[in-house]
């Protein structure tokens, strides 16, 4: 089967989307960008190919019962991936303990880490064993990191193996786990996953059929912040502005205006009825009001990034934040807290400040036309969406606001669509 790939190398995450000959999505993959773009795109690609295999398996199975079985297989596969990485993390920590020579304390440290890993493993089995696992970050670091933190806090002993010591080991080794491409390929993982669900014939056959389909990569297009470092020919590189326009058009064909809030940039894009960009504006060198702004606020409040939106949604009285400068907003936040304002209300104000800045870019790019599509990582933050909806209503009247649960893949999808055009 001929396929094409789009890769979006963002400043925070790297995404890959695979399309089949008809331009339909068959696979998606995502990973943290870190500093190694080549590795990041390799990881995102291999994730997308694994995902594509699943789509092919899915094409083989039709009935409702079979769908449930397919769901189990997929969860078993994810569990295999996670346990593989967890095992590697444990291995690296053991090596690190050896290297650091804790002396008498050594066995106790080893035992403590062992019990943490065991507890995480149980948690992961339960997570993937459930029919509808709760939504959570798909990154190993986020999922496992918070569990490690929790268990380490629980078992740490200020007189012996301290919390700091346990977290120090994790900090050191998680980086290597992230920087190593997964050892096991699709085949091994899926075999283990099949074992886990006791090898139902239907699935074994479907997997065999899917695995034997050749995925022949006809063309790859790269986009995003790091696109210049990709080993691609120039004609296979597209600006993320064009990719976001085309990707948003593919997801919602009525799209005329696109807002993309990424880690380092915010872009307001106008497209015509075929998804071609007619005008755009982006933030200047200052990343105020971009996704990273929320990262700083989370640091400042000692919270996780994903906790900000839900907390802001509990606000009853939105505080007016004067500064859109990320750094000044941090200072204003502390000031407001010391004045006794509630965290929920301040956070609601901060989300509104981000969106206000985006509104000014939208106005500069030519306003908001129906339909309006919101893409990028911040589109998953309900408080940001809430503020956007309010401000659009106030300024432009009722407009259709599109947000896809897969909005983070918009740029990669646009890239893949360009690849599809190049290939045909």
């Amino acid at each position: 089967m001929r396929c094409v790939i789009g890769i979006d190398l963002g400043s925070t995450t790297t995404k890959a989307v695979i399309l089949d000959e008809d331009g339909a999505i068959i696979g998606r993959g995502i990973t943290n960008s870190r500093s190694n773009y080549e590795l990041a795109s390799a990881v995102a690609r291999s994730e997308a190919f694994a995902d594509a295999r699943f789509r092919l398996v899915a094409r083989e199975v039709r009935g409702e019962l079979d769908q449930a079985l397919l769901g189990r297989l997929e969860r078993a596969f994810r569990l295999e991936q996670t346990l593989g990485q967890l095992g590697r993390l444990h291995e690296l920590i053991e090596e690190e303990i050896e290297r650091r020579q804790y002396g008498e304390l050594g066995p106790t440290v080893r035992e403590a880490v062992g019990s943490i890993v065991k507890a995480i493993e149980l948690e992961e089995r339960a997570h993937f064993g459930s029919e509808n696992p709760p939504l959570r970050s798909s990154f190993f670091r986020d999922a496992v990191g918070s569990a490690y933190n929790r268990y380490a806090e629980e078992i740490s002993d200020p007189k012996g193996v301290t919390f700091d010591l346990l977290l120090g080991l994790y900090d050191k080794c998680i980086i290597r786990v992230e920087n190593e491409p997964m050892d096991l390929g699709f085949q091994e993982l899926i075999d283990n996953a099949l074992d886990r669900i006791e090898n139902p014939t239907l699935m074994v056959d479907a997997v065999r059929a899917a695995a034997s389909t050749e995925l022949d990569e006809a063309c790859m297009v790269g986009t995003g912040y790091g696109r210049a470092t990709l080993p691609f020919p120039k004609e296979a590189i597209r600006s993320e502005i064009l990719c976001h326009g085309l990707g948003a058009h593919a997801m919602f064909p009525g799209t005329r205006t696109v807002l993309d809030i990424g880690g380092q940039d915010t872009k307001a894009i106008q497209v015509d009825d075929s998804g071609i960009v007619t005008s755009f504006q982006m933030n200047d060198r200052c990343a105020a009001g971009c996704g990273r702004y929320l990262g700083y606020i989370a640091d400042e409040m000692n919270m996780g990034l994903h906790e900000l939106g839900p907390m802001a949604e509990k606000s009853t009285r939105c505080v007016k934040i004067n500064s859109t400068c990320t750094v000044f907003a941090g200072a204003e936040l502390r000031e407001r807290l010391s004045l006794g304002e509630r965290r929920e209300d301040i956070l609601a104000g901060l989300h509104r400040a981000i969106i206000l800045r985006a509104m000014s870019l939208l106005a500069r790019s030519g306003g908001i036309d129906d339909e309006f599509t919101f893409t990028g990582g911040v589109a998953n933050n309900e408080a940001a969406v809430h503020a956007l909806r309010d401000l659009v209503d106030e300024n432009y009247g009722q407009k259709t606001l599109n947000i896809s649960p897969d909005s983070i893949y918009t740029g990669a999808l646009g890239g893949a669509l360009f690849a599809h055009r190049l290939a045909s």
């Binding site: 064009l242 015509d272 005008s279």
Partner: protein, 426 residues
């Protein structure tokens, strides 16, 4: 190879010599007793200053040269330490910093103190504040020449009379007092005659960009071409010689079908013909230019090359009407033209030079340029039917040049032109 490039570079060599010579004269001014007049680029009256035997110093030129030589960052930091806010025009801060660091010119020579500050007010409010600071620094006389803004799009007869009266009653007496010499109208006419000659050649050079490929880059390349005429050399024999040489070189390029020389080599394959509005960034000038050239984008017309004065709509300095012609020149420089006038200019350029689009470089420092640019963008897009790009940087503050951001915007814009072309052909 060496021979051809040497032949090509005659105008460049001339320019280098002229500048070096001028700074040397300035350094020696305290000994030779040549009077020194500080004045600004837009609508400057070099002929009048020269007719009094005075040497002009143009602080913006010093600032932009410092920017190109990577010295502006330190100067600006110096000025900010002295209490000038981050929001103040960076030309001003660069100049103040340079004075605080010993007033060394960009070529390394010492700059003399002014005998007179000739403040011609042409659309830039900051100029007033700037010379106010310099007056504080040097404790020297200042003469203010007020140029009425072309609010209604023309220079009215009474504006012209008002400016000529100021020249007669204020500027000339101030120059007489500062230089100790009498106003000599015949001498002024001689300078004006030479100005007009150089202006003819410059216009021919700038209009050569109508050719395909254009033999020049009418923004990045042309800022070098307008340097002498907008600064100390308009009306001088060296100026005339420079422009004659330049015109010959450009005409030879047209005959040979050659594109312009750029930092990434000769650009014969013009993929995009662009018009640019706004001043360039000086601290990353070559990098900025390379971003255009490496994508095959060439600039065929720009408004910044009209910042000192506008010649391509027919104006030439007229020796028959010395004070009237100075008034006309000052009134017609780009920053003194109102927004509808600027939009007209851009739309005309796009049509006459057959441009694929236009780029606005909005500089943080300069409101004389950047105020209203977004409005202009929409209006020009609508009237000329080509898309515009919007880039943000600064004049000489290196902190405000984000290469990744600018490259991203420019590449996106050029790819957008591609997509539209493909859409149109499909």
């Amino acid at each position: 190879m060496a021979e051809t490039s040497a032949a090509k570079d005659r105008s460049m060599i001339l320019q280098k010599q002229m500048i070096a010579n001028h700074y040397r004269q300035l350094e020696n001014a305290p000994e030779t007793g040549d009077p020194v007049v500080y004045t600004f680029v837009p609508g400057n009256m070099n002929e009048l200053v020269r007719s009094f035997g005075a040497l002009p110093v143009l602080p913006e030129i010093n600032a932009l040269q410092s920017g190109m030589r990577q010295k502006s960052g330190d100067y600006i930091a110096e000025a900010e330490r002295a209490g000038h806010s981050e929001d103040v025009c960076t030309y001003v801060k660069c100049d103040i910093g340079m004075i605080k660091a010993g007033n060394i010119s960009p070529t390394g020579t010492r700059l003399p103190k002014p005998d007179l500050l000739l403040l011609s007010y042409t659309g830039c409010y900051t100029f007033m504040k700037w010379f106010e600071l310099l007056r504080e620094e040097y404790d020297c006389p200042t003469v203010f020449f007020h140029v009425p803004y072309q609010g209604d799009g023309t220079i009215e007869a009474e504006h012209r009379d008002y400016m000529m009266r100021q020249l007669r009653e204020e500027v000339i007496p101030a120059l007489e007092k500062a230089t100790g010499r009498r106003y000599d109208e015949d001498r002024l006419r001689e300078y004006l005659t030479l100005s007009a000659q150089a202006e003819d050649d410059l216009v021919a050079v700038l209009q050569s960009a109508k050719n395909r490929p254009s033999p020049i880059d009418a923004y990045f390349g042309a800022v070098y071409y307008v340097g002498p005429i907008f600064s100390s050399f308009r009306g001088t024999p060296e100026g005339v010689e420079y422009y004659r040489a330049l015109r010959e070189e450009v005409e030879a390029r047209v005959a040979a079908g050659q594109g312009p020389m750029t930092p990434v080599g000769q650009l014969d394959d013009e993929k995009y013909r662009l018009v640019v509005e706004g001043p360039p960034n000086w601290t990353s000038f070559r990098e900025f230019w390379s971003m255009f050239a490496s994508e095959g984008a060439n600039v065929v017309a720009s408004t910044y090359t009209k910042v000192g004065g506008t010649y391509d709509f027919g104006f030439r300095h007229d020796p028959e009407d010395p004070l009237g012609t100075l008034a006309d020149y000052c009134g017609g420089c780009y920053t003194n033209i109102n927004l509808p006038g600027r939009v007209d200019m851009l739309v005309d350029y796009i049509r006459e030079y057959e441009a694929d689009g236009f780029v606005i470089n909005s500089v943080k420092s300069c409101n004389s340029f950047s105020a209203g640019q977004l409005m202009m963008l929409r209006e020009v897009e609508k009237r000329a039917g080509v898309p515009g790009a919007f880039i943000e940087s600064d004049l000489v503050d290196p902190r405000y040049f984000s290469a990744a951001n600018i490259k991203n915007r420019l590449e996106s814009y050029l790819q957008m032109i591609d997509a539209r072309r493909m859409g149109a052909s499909a």
